[in-house]
Symmetry: C4
Subunit: 197 residues, 4 copies
Amino acid sequence: MPGEMTTNRLEAFSDGVIAIIVTIMVLELRPPAQPTVPALLRVAPSLLSYLLSFLVVAIMWVNHHHMIHSVRRVTARLLWMNLNLLFWMSLIPFVTDYMGKNYRQPLPVAMYGLNLTFCAAAFYLLRTELVCQYQDDAERSTYHASIQRKNLFSGLLYLASVPLAYVSVSLSYMIFFSVAAAYFLPEKKLAASGERM
Amino acid sequence: MPGEMTTNRLEAFSDGVIAIIVTIMVLELRPPAQPTVPALLRVAPSLLSYLLSFLVVAIMWVNHHHMIHSVRRVTARLLWMNLNLLFWMSLIPFVTDYMGKNYRQPLPVAMYGLNLTFCAAAFYLLRTELVCQYQDDAERSTYHASIQRKNLFSGLLYLASVPLAYVSVSLSYMIFFSVAAAYFLPEKKLAASGERM
Amino acid sequence: MPGEMTTNRLEAFSDGVIAIIVTIMVLELRPPAQPTVPALLRVAPSLLSYLLSFLVVAIMWVNHHHMIHSVRRVTARLLWMNLNLLFWMSLIPFVTDYMGKNYRQPLPVAMYGLNLTFCAAAFYLLRTELVCQYQDDAERSTYHASIQRKNLFSGLLYLASVPLAYVSVSLSYMIFFSVAAAYFLPEKKLAASGERM
Amino acid sequence: MPGEMTTNRLEAFSDGVIAIIVTIMVLELRPPAQPTVPALLRVAPSLLSYLLSFLVVAIMWVNHHHMIHSVRRVTARLLWMNLNLLFWMSLIPFVTDYMGKNYRQPLPVAMYGLNLTFCAAAFYLLRTELVCQYQDDAERSTYHASIQRKNLFSGLLYLASVPLAYVSVSLSYMIFFSVAAAYFLPEKKLAASGERM
């Protein structure tokens, strides 16, 4: 009997959670015990790990914004698909901290890759809901389907980073940074052509 | 003399607090000291405890949203009943952490159940305020009364989980997950029938 | 040249900070090391300290909301007076943690009282700004002046709690809880008379 | 194909992140282990470091608000320039904690200065985007250019604080507090002349 949740509120709540995720990660950066350069350098991997996650979460935020913006109707399924995404995103500070403190070990790097795989899968599921809402709109369907292919491709790359961490963690890091760059750069190209964002 | 607080602001503040509660819990997940699978597995109970609380808080958020949405007038009583609810919800990260680190011990599991009992009681009190505002609307009164029965039932189950933890913690866990599932699933059924959310 | 800040944005930012203050305090409640009742009881003072601060911050939030709501013009002075208030409020988690862990020691209790004294003083200064904006409105001026007297009185009580902690910490605790009750109860009376909130 | 991000949403997200940054810093203030005055005094440098950062972030928030308010179009470049600024701002709790715990050591003080230099540079880049949007509006261009000069000047002062910390940390502290004062005071003057804020 109560009304539907509006897109606005879904967006505001998701934004709140994402803003907190992105910011609390910095709490896990513990300042070095000694005020010396070598001690500071030992924190560098944690800082780089934070930088990567800041970039990843920022990209997810931008994409999430665009996705929610084209929602027509906040159904229960969509709401839970969104909460599913937020759950996996909320684990990013945990794997970031773990990887930052053990950046040469395959297990933490694989866990980071696995977490991002689940995030990509959650994005995929959420967008599937959205594609359903646009079955009658050929142009938008095509648009969402093309983004979904890119989403699927990066999800598969993240999945590949899990076993590859046991070959060499450098391969997994290359995947993490390449996917981030791939999402970061086209955004600019598209904007230049005045099409989105 | 100053005007009443609007429903919007009450909702925005509550949402802010709930978004923070749900996200800061992840800060309590400390990455394992060693980059090994056994060390990672020792964190698994904390991760499952976090998953359960994420689900519980997400369900409370959805229900709280619907409840506040049907508020007609933000009275002082309603405001304090809402703050009472937020107080008990704000303790969830504390009991989640306690239970995750001692998942086989009856006391932490009983404390978790007790906290959820107080949350359910706070929801009940808040909805009682709401039912009062709809005394003249038979249809809505019936609707709120039926939700309140479900609320009361889950509150009693949570209360039962407190002594049951001393029989077997598994019984309490079954209650926690069953109540979550019971709130999670009907939501979908109702949405399918197009009635709410 | 850019426009004034709106009351809405000042309120949204303040609410965000207050929602975070009230919620992060719970992060300072560390679950007991042992899953035993005596270990849990040792956390009880921290929990009570948290309860007190939750109540104090909730009351400040309600009062702050009413105050900002009657702002006519967001001047630079008002903005900085508000940031001054938020600064002192942001220290509450710090003194709460300190007092909770040393609840029988005069120094932490005195520090808690001193922090609340500064909060009360910041409220007083902020309201003075507001009274200035209503110099031409006798009714509202009288209203704000009457609240300000109550504000001044509780500020003086908080100030008294600082030296009194060295006589007996119980006296200071009595002041903290009495002031909270004094703000909590009349709110209900006023609401009943339909005048505010 | 989806619409542009609105200024409102960019502002709300940025405000959320800034509100969290300013508030979580207090979590790094650990209450002293002993309830004694000497133990409390050992926390004083951390408290002062927090006060400085609260002031710095508050000033950035006010300036950021004015800047975003005059945005005409949320382009991808602007969005990423804003995320760049938020990234550097998000490191402030980290350097604040580091400096507060080692306030007499040149390295942490230099790191603090370096972080503020990057924040100032990020502000400069963000405003450059904005100036581009006002190429056709001479009056506003002049206005933004004059603020940008002040921004550049404080950025250079922050940069100078990095090597100066190795001469004497007091020099760096003087720079930090002077720049804060320089931003804090004129704001009042301008407001008095009724021109802004």
